[in-house]
Amino acid sequence: MSANSLLEARAIDAFYGASHVLRGVDFRVGRGETVSLLGRNGMGKTTLLRTLMGLVPARGGEIRFDGDDIKGRRPSAVARAGVGFVPEGRGIFPNLSVEENLIFAEREGPGGRRDWTREAIYQLFPRLLERRANWGNQLSGGEQQMLTIGRALMSNPTLLMVDEATEGLAPMVREDIWRTLRLIAERGVAIVVVDKNLDDLKKLCRRHVILVKGEVVFDGPTGELAARDDFVRSQLGL
């Protein structure tokens, strides 16, 4: 594992029942780096995030986070090591208020960092402050997404994994989410993001990984992604 690596997964295999979803995947994220994970539906992007998080068991290979072997650890241990997770479908707690959703995840990050407090989250998403007493299920889709990102930040992670955060949102709300992710990245949090909006991903991320049928077919910087436009578009079905 190189000194600058925050997360390094090597030769990861994962299965859903008998279905072999990830096939020898290598995946690396540097400290403070922003990486996009691209691919058509069903290619293994969400499974890779869930495997890194410990929600899907990894078979074979190794996963190291901040120098520690985290393969086989419980998701709670991975989260406590400094990984924040924004799942597909948001996963807010509908029977907790906005404030309770945030308090729920409130924790010091690795090294005792407390960069993200409730006040900081409310500054980032003023809409959540207005809705702080509302139940999770009373929020709009955009507000729920803001809450999910804010909640993940409350644990002061060094790596934030974001799965389809802008899916199904209005263009203006989507732009808000992208702007916020760029702000979070500027504050030094490494980000892995799965999304379908290639142009926005190019603005946010310095490196891009394309998965096809559970295998990495491309791993390179934004310049290389742009240079191989035909290949990229054919792999993504654009």
């Binding site: 998080m53 998701p75 709670s76 799942p87 509908p94 907790l96």
Partner: protein, 286 residues
């Protein structure tokens, strides 16, 4: 008029006891995803613990103070030994194992306490009646029992609504995977929830013991009605369990007096009506 008042009180008393028993069942089902057929056994264990502990302490409330922590520990042990292996298994396996636990608990009960019903003495200071109307007296113990049940129900609601543990329970009820992904070890939470459910059911059994005595099969009777409460209230909903318990308590009490031939059918008819109007129960989520 007096008859109606008595039946209201009887119905509330039965409903409140049922709530203590059913709240654990609904939490275990809603959060852990386990159909625990052995839940009624904790009620039975409570009733027999009341018998034994009262014989040592001489007072049902001292027995209760010792019995609730004891039942909590028994619940933790059962979760650790058996139930935790069921979380990722299908309902059939859950039903098979927890049914086996019923058989084990029943055998143990018969070996330790025998086959005959045992009465548990009421505390002498609560054995009298008070006059509610000139022609109507009502047992002081039953009123105290209701007050304790209300106290425990309020305590449970306070814990669930206002404390960190309560937030965890509510969050786990809606999305246990996300609770884990936010850094909370769900194994600990699940063990505490299961043990708390066992302790509440045992508390109900202990409190009811001086009124209805301890007898073989008492757990199964409570289990079936508790499942009806869970279905009426909605799986995982404490509010639903509370309302469902009171509805069943009142329906049972009035049914026995006004439609005795159909009283045993009445609560199931009530359940069917709720299912027709609200298929997920009164407070259940689809």
């Amino acid at each position: 008029m007096s008859l109606i008042l008595v039946q209201i009180l009887n119905g509330l008393q039965y409903g409140l006891l049922l709530f203590l028993a059913a709240s654990g069942l609904t939490l275990v089902f809603g959060i852990l995803g386990v159909i625990n057929l052995a839940h009624g056994s904790f009620y039975m264990i409570g009733a027999y613990m009341a018998l034994t502990l009262t014989s040592y302490t001489g007072d049902i409330f001292l027995a209760l103070a010792a019995g609730i922590p004891l039942a909590f520990l028994i619940g933790m042990a059962i979760e650790w030994l058996f139930v935790r292996h069921l979380y990722k298994r299908d309902h059939l396996q859950q039903v098979l194992l927890t049914f086996a636990l019923i058989l084990v608990f029943n055998e143990a009960q018969q070996s330790i306490w025998g086959n005959y019903p045992k009465s548990i003495p009421m505390p002498s200071y609560l054995s009298s009646s008070i006059s509610l109307t000139p022609e109507l007296g009502y047992s002081v113990y039953r009123l105290a029992l209701m007050a304790i049940c209300v106290g425990l129900a309020l305590l449970m609601m306070f814990v669930i609504q206002k404390t960190r543990v309560g937030r965890l329970i509510r969050a786990a009820e809606s999305n246990p995977e996300m609770v884990e992904a936010l850094g909370f070890d769900s194994r600990v939470l699940f063990r505490v929830v299961f043990a708390a459910g066992a302790a509440l059911a045992a508390a109900a059994g202990m409190l009811a013991a001086p009124v209805e005595s301890a007898y073989p099969g008492i757990g199964e009777r409570v289990l079936i009605i508790s499942f009806v409460v869970v279905v009426i209230g909605g799986i995982g909903s404490i509010r639903g369990a509370f309302l469902g318990s009171l509805l069943i308590g009142l329906a049972d009490a009035f049914g026995k007096v006004f439609v005795p031939k159909f009283s045993s059918v009445l609560i199931y008819a009530l359940m069917a009506l709720v299912l027709v109007l609200r298929p997920n129960g009164l407070f259940g989520r689809s």
